[in-house]
Symmetry: C2
Subunit: 335 residues, 2 copies
DNA sequence: CAGGTTATGCAAAACGATTTGGAGAACGCG
DNA sequence: CGCGTTCTCCAAATCGTTTTGCATAACCTG
């Protein structure tokens, strides 16, 4: 019924003919143990399948060997790819990863952070959204290590991992220029939303570098949805001198733009090229398949976990660090 | 730095002028406490923001107040929707949810299960895939509660939650019949894979019920991919007497079938209707948008968590239970 | 071989909660 | 008023580790 006789460290000790102290030391390596003793103990551990009780260990060490990830939407594949990356690194170090959903609407974030802190989660990765200074402070004040996904690098707010949005868009637009496109329009999502702004900067810089002007009538701001893409595309495609390419701030917008182009009878990419950003699954499933840019989400997760583990296993303090990861261009049919 | 002075139960006790025992009792309600004392203690708890240390509590109670979900692919939105549903219920009971990825290839599953069991996770939900009897036994033997997503209801193997695949497909095909389609083809994924087989049964039964024959030349078996859909559609659409509708075992197959139809110049749904199954995000993004069936993943997660909590908080034993959830037809443009 | 290191292992004290056997107070009843 | 019940609350034991102060044993070094 109730796990009958789960073996404990004293069982291992007596079976191996040593004290529990010694077993603990071969486990942690905090004090030297002779090679022969160590071998005997390890053999017994193996044979009995001993695993330290995490609660007992946690009580003593004040550590849970657990990493947390907080995201606004757990069903978004980006976020889960980040989680998968974290788990990959964490499991190798015998850490568990818990991913928590804290939707943007309402005060979910503080509540979830409180939960994680109360649980003594060793390291917490906070996704990119409205985390207040107070929320983040609560994490660091509790002794948990913090990594943010994006945002400025500030002392006392943990390390940062982010993707090179600006550079990714720069590469994409340069790619289009290289393929001969000259009048390149831009459809952005809502103004002022961080990743979107950075992408727009990349767009401007790429045009600049190619000696092309930024036509005001060729940039439209809408929302990060398919509907927004439709609206933006109508605006941009009806310009007095229409564009030969439309780059969109994300894939959903691009799919909307595809709708408008199809409705208008414009063949893609022959008459007009359309590109997305993020490489969501649907990007490769629509037709023509979208040329887009891949967000290195899994790699972001790996890096974040590694940063946390460095702080936890190695020196806890030290200056805040930032890791910037490159995006990857994914050329497909739509350009 | 290190959480400075986290308050413990003795702090609460002294502040409230009672013993720690009393505080514990008002927390657990295992022994009566006078109304006035209870009020005073609860007030102090509130004011000081006391939260019991989970390790200490876990050490004593042998419980972690944590639920686990094991899935083959964490980036699959189905699986994360299940996780979201679990978390919704779990959080309300102050339980945490951890979701672990154990890919199908290789012996990941036993390793992950070992991890969870070693961590004393109170309840574990195992997704639908090759879990051996031995894997599952390890869970129940450890004292953790088990819920499986699909599979037969067997004593000693925990409770089961599953979606009504057969009925879902039955409804879909009946829907087509109701709209006047008569020669309805079927493209299945690999033979012998459980959910696929059940869906095929639903297809057969629906035709039967409508008094329509199952034409052998109108059913094709391929793989659960877009490529499979293309191949299956070519086979089925070139039958001597072509179908007026093609139902596919999942959305990816349907998207592939859409490709073939488009390539052959067959307008959808005018010349031929095409339907999917699962309602992945892309189903609504392709054009024409796919008529499909929604897998109640979030609801599955909720039910699974509820089953576990029932066992954990209420009576632990009792006969194995099974919850079957209905699918929901999502009519869109492709039919 | 004396004296000083270094290796090795033990016993006991934490860690912070829950739970149990009782002690003392309050109360009802004859 | 005496006695038994019921309310309250307390002190102490317990959960399974890690860690620290010591006691040996083993090993150099001159």
């Amino acid at each position: 019924m109730h796990g009958a006789g789960r073996i404990k460290i004293v069982d291992v000790a007596s079976e191996a003919g040593v004290s529990v102290t010694t077993v603990s030391h071969v486990l942690s390596g905090r004090r030297p143990v002779s090679a022969t003793t160590r071998a005997r103990v390890e053999d017994v551990i193996q044979r009995l399948g001993y695993q330290a009780d995490p609660s007992a260990r946690g009580l003593r060490t004040q550590r849970t060997r657990t990493l947390g990830l907080v995201v606004p939407d757990i069903t978004n594949p980006f976020n889960t790819a980040i989680a998968a990356g974290m788990q990959e690194i964490a499991l190798a170090h015998e850490y568990l990863t818990v991913v928590c959903e804290a939707p943007m609407d309402g005060p979910h974030l503080p509540a979830v952070i409180r939960q994680l802190v109360a649980r003594r989660i060793d390291g917490i990765v906070v996704g990119r959204y409205g985390a207040t200074r107070q929320d983040l402070d609560r994490i660091t004040a509790s002794g948990s290590k913090l990594v943010r996904l994006g945002g400025p690098l500030a002392p006392g707010l943990g390390d940062v991992v982010r993707a090179a949005e600006t550079e990714g868009m720069y590469d994409l637009v340069s790619h289009l220029v290289g393929r001969g496109y000259r009048r390149i329009a831009y459809i952005g999502g809502a103004r002022g939303v961080e990743p979107g702004e950075e992408r727009f900067v990349g767009y401007r810089k790429a045009l600049e570098a190619a000696g092309l002007p930024v036509h005001q009538e060729l940039v439209a701001w809408t929302s990060f949805t398919r509907e927004g893409g439709r609206a933006g595309a109508t605006a941009v495609l009806t310009a007095t001198e229409p564009p030969d390419a439309v780059v969109c701030a994300n894939d959903l917008i691009a799919i909307g733009a595809l709708d408008t182009a199809r409705a208008a009878g414009l063949r893609v990419p022959d008459r007009v090229a359309i590109t997305g950003y993020d490489d969501i699954e649907a990007a490769s499933l629509v037709s023509p398949a979208l040329t887009t840019v891949l967000n290195p989400a899994r790699e972001i997760g790996r890096s974040a976990a590694q940063l946390l583990l460095d702080r936890l296993e190695g020196e806890g303090s030290g200056p805040a660090r930032e890791i910037v990861l490159a995006h990857r261009l994914v050329p497909r049919e739509s350009a």
